[in-house]
Symmetry: C2
Subunit: 347 residues, 2 copies
Amino acid sequence: MRATMLTSVRGIELRQVADPVIHFPTDAVVTVTASCVCGSDLHGYRGHAATVFPRRIGHEFVGVVSETGSEVTTVAAGDLVIAPFAISDGTCAHCRNGVTTSCAQGSFWGAPDRRGVLADGAQAEQVRVPLADGTLVRVAAPADDQLTPDLLALSDVMGTGHHAAVSAGVKPGCTVVVVGDGAVGLCAVLASARLGADRVIAMSRHGSRQELAAEFGATDIVAERGPDGAMRVMDLLAGVGADCVLECVGTQDSFDQAVAVTRPGGMIGCVGAPFYDIPAARLAGRNVGLRGGVAPVRAYLPALLADVLAGVIRPGKVFDLELPLADVAAGYRAMDERRAIKVLLRP
Amino acid sequence: MRATMLTSVRGIELRQVADPVIHFPTDAVVTVTASCVCGSDLHGYRGHAATVFPRRIGHEFVGVVSETGSEVTTVAAGDLVIAPFAISDGTCAHCRNGVTTSCAQGSFWGAPDRRGVLADGAQAEQVRVPLADGTLVRVAAPADDQLTPDLLALSDVMGTGHHAAVSAGVKPGCTVVVVGDGAVGLCAVLASARLGADRVIAMSRHGSRQELAAEFGATDIVAERGPDGAMRVMDLLAGVGADCVLECVGTQDSFDQAVAVTRPGGMIGCVGAPFYDIPAARLAGRNVGLRGGVAPVRAYLPALLADVLAGVIRPGKVFDLELPLADVAAGYRAMDERRAIKVLLRP
C-alpha cells in the first residue's frame, strides 16, 4: 500500500510500504477513507521540530475497519470509525480522568509506542491502530462522502478547539475572544457558540477565514493585531476584557494578545504548542488563569460526534481544499503557504 | 494616636501620628481592636521589596466604626467590622465579577489611592477606611475577645487560602496537595476540607504546623521536600498525582514542587507572590492549569464569616503569638525568624 513519508525538510513523498498487519491482539487495521494535513505536521515539514527522516506522517483519519486483533471488542470489520490524533487505552487513571493524551499506555501516530513499536502515520491507505478499543470511535451511520469532512474534523481540530473552550471555562452567557484563525481557532469559535457563549470575538484578518468564523458563530471580527487589536477588543467589551480567551496559535505574540484581552479573574484556554514565556506576575496581579495543552480529543469525541450526526455542528467546513492522496505534497505546500485552511486527502 | 512605621530595613517603630479624619464622604474611621503581621509585610521589612521609608504598614484588621462619611450607608458608628487586605468599591465590573482586588477604584493599605491620597496602615490604633461601603464587612455579633482571632484571619490568610482552593477547583471528593505551611498554607488546608476534599496532603516539616494542619483537616503530612517530597506524594496518590495543588509560597522550589505532584489535567491554585518562572511546555504537555493571584478576600468574606460565626471553622488558630501593639517590633522579629506562624496585635 502507499503511505506519506516525510523524507527531508519540505520533502513529502507518497511511497510504497508494507501493508499493515495485526501486531498485538489489541490492534485493528483500518482502511483510510479520508485523512488530512495538520498545522502541527508543518513543524516537522518546515524543520522546526527535530525529526528523523524518512518517517511516516499524519495523525487524523477516518476509515473502515478491515481486521481486528483477538482482544478487540468494541469495533469490528466493516465499521466506520474515527481515529483521534492520539492513541489511548481508555482504561488507565488518566483516561478515566478524561485526559486521554496522558494515557499510561498512550502513544502518537508515526512515533514509537512504549514498547518501541512504531505506530503508522495516518496519511496512508491503511493504518494499524494500536489499543483499538480505547482509541477508535465507531460511527453509527453509513459512510457518506458529505459527512466525511465533519467526521474527520473530529479527529483533531474540532476536539482541540473544543478543548480550548472547555479549558477556559466557556459557558452560557460568557464573553469569548479567539486568538488565531487557523482550523483550530475557527473550531474554537464553533465550540464556544455550541457551549452557549453570548459573545464570540474572532481575531482574524483573512477574508475567507473571517467569513467562516462568522458562519461558525462569531459575533464580532477584529482584524487588527497587537496593541491595536487589544484596544479594539477592549472597546467591544466595555474596557473590562473577556471572561474566556482561547489561544490557538502558540507564539509569544498570540499569547501576549490573549493576556491583554482577558479580564481580571478570566481564563485563557491554551491549545497552541507553547512557544512562549508566561509572565507569572502579570497573570497573578490580575488573577488571570490558564489551562489547556495537548487536547484529549478522544474524551470529547462521543458528544461532538452526536452533534455532528444530528446536524448541529458542521466542523468539516474548515476543509477548503480536497486532494487525492497522490497529491499529498501539493497539500503540504498549500498549508505551508497558507493558501488553504486545511487540506483533506482521499485515497 | 499611635501607628506602626517601617523606618528602614528591619526598622519597625510605633510612632505618634495624627488621628485619622473623614477625608472623602465615602470614608469611615475605624478604631482597631486587633491587627496582625503578615508574611507579605516581611517583603518590605527584609528589604526585598522597593519601598520608601518611613511608611505606615499593616493591612489586616478588625475594629469598631467610630465615624462615617456622609455617603456611607452599610456601616455605622459602633459596628464591629472586618477590613480585608484590599480596598474596593463593590460596584465596578471587576467587583461584580468577584475580583475585588482588581477594583476600578481599588487601592491598598499604606499605599496611595488613585487620587494620590495615602491610605493608612492597619497596625495602628485607628484607620481611615476609604470606600467603606465596598470595603468593610459588618459582623452581626458582639465584639468578643475569643472570636477576634477568627475574624481577623478572614481579613487575609483564610480568604487567601480559600482563594487557592477555589482557583484550583477544589470540590467534594477530590485530592489536594498544599505546598507551604505558613498561615496561608494552613488556611488552604482548612479551606480544602471545608470544600469537601476527600484527601488533603499538607507538605510541612515543622511539628507545630503539622499539628495545626492535621487539626485543620489534613489527612496526610509529608515532611520531605523536593524530589523526595514529590515521590512521597505520588506514592500516596497511587502514582497519579493530585487533582488540585495549592501553591502557597511563591518561590521557584515551591512552584516546581507543585507542578511535580499535579496530575495530568489537574489545576494549581497559586496565591504565593510569584517569584518563579512557569515551564509552559511542561504544563501544556500534561494539561496542568494554573489560576490564582491576589486573593479577592472581600468577595469571600460573607460566606466565610457565616461559617466562623456558626463555629464551623476556626481559622484564628493560626495566631500562635499575641502581643500588645507597643511590642510590634518583637512581632516582626518573631515572624522573620519563623518563631511564630502569625502574630496578633492588640492595641
